[in-house]
Subunit: 327 residues, 2 copies
Amino acid sequence: MSAESLYRSYQDQIEKALSDIQLCDQPEDLYQPIRYVLEMGGKRLRPMLCLLSNDLYEGDTEAAMHAALALEVFHNFTLLHDDIMDKACTRRKQDCVHIKWNPNVAILSGDAMQILAFELLSNVPKDKLKVCLDLFAKTAREVCEGQQYDMEFETRSDVTEAEYVRMIRLKTAVLLAASLKMGAILAGANKKEANHLYQYGIHLGLAFQLQDDWLDAFGSIESFGKRIGGDIVSNKKTYLLIHALENAKDKDAEDLTYWISVQPEDPTEKIQAVKAIFERTGVDALCRNEIRNNMELAMDHLHALQLSTERIKPLMDLGNRLMERNH
Amino acid sequence: MSAESLYRSYQDQIEKALSDIQLCDQPEDLYQPIRYVLEMGGKRLRPMLCLLSNDLYEGDTEAAMHAALALEVFHNFTLLHDDIMDKACTRRKQDCVHIKWNPNVAILSGDAMQILAFELLSNVPKDKLKVCLDLFAKTAREVCEGQQYDMEFETRSDVTEAEYVRMIRLKTAVLLAASLKMGAILAGANKKEANHLYQYGIHLGLAFQLQDDWLDAFGSIESFGKRIGGDIVSNKKTYLLIHALENAKDKDAEDLTYWISVQPEDPTEKIQAVKAIFERTGVDALCRNEIRNNMELAMDHLHALQLSTERIKPLMDLGNRLMERNH
């Protein structure tokens, strides 16, 4: 099967399995938000990574699908609760649950959704349950840690690069990594193989998040899918801003301090000015370099697997395709 | 060992095990609230029921302690999130997490706490993990359902007795029941025994919650531990109010409708008037009768166990002691 038709087949299976998840009817305001969030769509990246990784070692797709669903449901739960905390209004062009219903419904249906993730996971083969549960729970807690750091950074101006990288590793990368590792574990891969896949996920996740930062400033609305400059407007401590604050000198330093202290009604000038400082301080190139480094590390881990190049192609292609929005 | 020294021994072991739970240090605002909530104290009823039930069949206390901790941590997580939703300010005379920190910290540390509960549970013996996890997750989701119904009842005036009993069963009774059942399962008891213990927990939980309703109106501050009349002031759809709304006639019906439509600054007169209607409509006696019925059903299930009266004494005593605050 070509990589392309493999994706399409898995994508269809994932969507079908997601819509087949049995949810109770009552109380409506507990279960309808879960269905609503799961039907919002998305790339289904985590279940896809889990199934592709499982496929590397010819694992049973049906068994891996339980873990794949658990990962996707957990991911969507974090979006639901993050949107409350971040006071977001829309997600994928639809109202967030706390807007469409109310914050209490969003808190509680999120709680039930997290439980549902564990319930789905409990269906993996019994002899793998303990190891999957441990990995899943540890990762889930790390994702919470990442969100906490992310919130704390909003009110800090002294965030270091190391702190930032730790935050995006926890908030984004570990769940991708765990998805890959779990697929491998369920297929019976050994520890070394599973860990290479984990590391592939970590570096792919870091590259992806760094690219998100870069695109917010230098992308186009088509490639990014969101309005450009959102992070600049909100003074988000991204890789770009952290380094610009560190590197900017003289007038650039003064200007940057000014721009992050103001919230103009029309943000066009602020976005342009901050982007120009990003370019002059070289953080634009620095960020692209860091993305490239992480992609190389990711691919190194894929090539370290005891598998043929042909076999790892679908995962390699998926990683590359994920990073193809940089123009 | 006497029942009394058995409790004390388990109580000490539970407190020690709770304080021995390994939590990360960082980020502080994620983990400190969890420690804070666990150190607030409480009856530790759920772990106690789990250990006592495990003891009935001479199960290994160390193995059951993992489940006992999971149950207590989950219960405390529900209090944490319920307090946000209910806009409560204090819990056990201390500031709630969303007051002491902020609502976002309360949401997120609650999420991490729920994950922690599953992590603790994952330490039960491997051959029992699947059955414990299924029971735990199903019960956890039911508790969410109970909280959702409870919130919905606030804005409804047509709640039926059946709906009310379903709500308190889900919100309170099922977790007590699951605690007992899990202890028995871990000790290797058969399904029939485990189910009798589950039913003991259901009826004990219903009796306990109904008594809570009754004490709110007819208890003393000493026996109840909270100010009297809180439910009356907030027009909470308790067993008493539901039946009073159904049974009250003529002037009582008129008066009750009036009182639940007003929010006087000094609630003394409202509390006295509503209590008098409760007495005249006979719902005071009705409630006490329902408590007695449930306690009898609870004890029937204990006596149905294939165990000597001596062996079930600690659980029987604990149930009776729990209900001894009715004066």
